[in-house]
């Protein structure tokens, strides 16, 4: 029987100290974290800064293509990056359920360490709490990230202007489908992997080489459709999207077809939307397609005056319809 997390590990006593030193510092250690002071001392970070926080509660905690640890790094790194910044430092706070397998926690911490290394960020401060069985589901992780903004002006959801082209960095819905395929009562077999990955290397390259970028957003929960609607509302513009050119893997289409879901509303954890002037679009597409994180990039539509806050989808048949926001989560349906 493997070792399990007990309430002692969150007590602040020796057990807590052991957990921090022997597990977290061992995996995530760096000069900042190793000091184990009450707070991290940060130097050399030039403003303006981009800062973002997110809490991760994904179920299952290990999924094809990733786990809650790497996701907690990628999610926050990507959010910081979408402001046109280079993510540098992160905090991370764990809420652990009593009884969590120590081996699982080790795997998660190791995975976080790898993800942070790849993204070029240091986890410099953290916290651990253990709560009684049932109070959380296995493990929840909060991460906060901070980095220097290099884009001027910084991209924003409210900066899309008529005439701009809309690009996505790759196939849509992979993460959502990979997670669904492991849900009880729905499970099916697929080789599809979550697209969970850090996007900051690619976004930084774009900012440096593709000229001014108006909008950078990662379409996570709610999927592409929801994020496009948010942009249309924030910028007060209409977006026209060509359904046929939106990259969707055949597995995602297949899985969606029998569950009655729409890939455009499935979560992504390693894709971004980039909106920029038409004249820079070609260059941007080239940069994206030559990077491993943007191989499947495509131009999917254009910003126009139209009616404010509206997203219109042109279907393969040539018809037009509204691409609306969903009210809540998508559920598998039989009709």
């Amino acid at each position: 029987m493997s070792e399990r997390i007990t309430l002692d590990y969150g007590s602040g006593g020796r057990a807590s100290q052991r957990l921090v030193k022997e597990l977290f510092v061992r995996h995530l250690g760096n000069p900042g974290l190793n000091r184990l002071d009450d707070a991290a001392l940060i130097t050399g970070l030039e403003g303006p800064l981009s800062m973002s926080t997110d809490t991760f509660t994904v179920d299952p905690i290990f999924f094809p293509g990733g786990d809650i640890g790497s996701l907690a790094v990628h999610g926050t790194v990507n959010d910081v990056a979408m402001l046109g910044a280079i993510p540098r430092f992160m905090s991370c706070a764990f809420i652990l359920e009593e009884g969590l397998d120590m081996g699982d926690l080790n795997r998660i911490a190791a995975s976080m360490a790898g993800a942070a290394r790849d993204a070029g960020v240091s986890i410099v401060t953290g916290d651990t709490k253990v709560v009684p069985r049932g109070a959380v589901d296995k493990i929840f992780i909060n991460t906060t990230g901070i980095g220097s903004v290099i884009a001027n002006p910084s991209p924003s959801g409210s900066s899309a202007s008529p005439g701009d082209l809309i690009l996505v960095s790759g196939s849509i819905g992979d993460h959502g489908l990979a997670i669904l395929s492991h849900r009880q009562g729905i499970a099916f077999e697929t080789d599809i992997l979550s697209d969970s990955q850090a996007l900051n290397h690619l976004t930084v390259k774009l900012i440096k080489e593709a000229g001014p970028i108006h909008v950078l957003r990662d379409p996570t929960r709610g999927g592409l459709a929801t994020t496009l609607n948010e942009i249309a509302q924030q910028s007060g513009v209409e977006l026209l999207i060509e359904q046929e050119v939106i990259p969707v893997r055949k597995e995602v289409e297949g899985g969606c077809s029998f569950l009655g879901l729409d890939p455009l509303y499935l979560a992504n954890e390693g894709k971004f939307i980039c909106i920029l002037p038409e004249k820079s679009a070609r260059k941007a597409l080239e940069i994206m397609r030559s990077d491993p994180a943007g191989l499947g990039a495509a131009v999917i539509g254009q910003v126009r005056e139209g009616r404010k806050g509206r997203v219109i989808l042109r279907t393969p048949l040539g018809g037009h319809r509204l691409l609306d926001m969903l009210e809540g989560e998508q559920l598998p349906r039989i009709c």
């Binding site: 599809i192 597995e251 297949g254 029998f258 009709c335």
Partner: protein
């Protein structure tokens, strides 16, 4: 109502077939399908059950009739 989609049978064991669409695989029951289904057949799947075998010839025939009706070149 009734979302049902065509999936291809890749193996059969007793009353359960493994089926595939776009690389996604699932299991479906064969308790209510009315014809013997075989590996390679396409079946219409609804809520975990195969409802009917898809008749490819009938599908082609529909297209053909339609083509005649409109004087179009649909099938090459």
């Amino acid at each position: 109502m009734c979302l049902a989609i065509p999936m291809e049978i890749i193996s059969i064991e007793d009353n359960v077939a493994r089926v595939e669409v776009g690389g996604v695989k699932n299991q479906v029951r064969l308790d209510i399908i009315d014809e013997q289904a075989a590996v390679g057949d396409f079946v219409i799947v609804h809520a975990g059950f195969a409802l009917r075998k898809i008749d490819r010839e009938e599908g082609l025939e529909t297209l053909r009739l339609f083509q005649e009706g409109l004087g179009l070149e649909l099938i090459k």
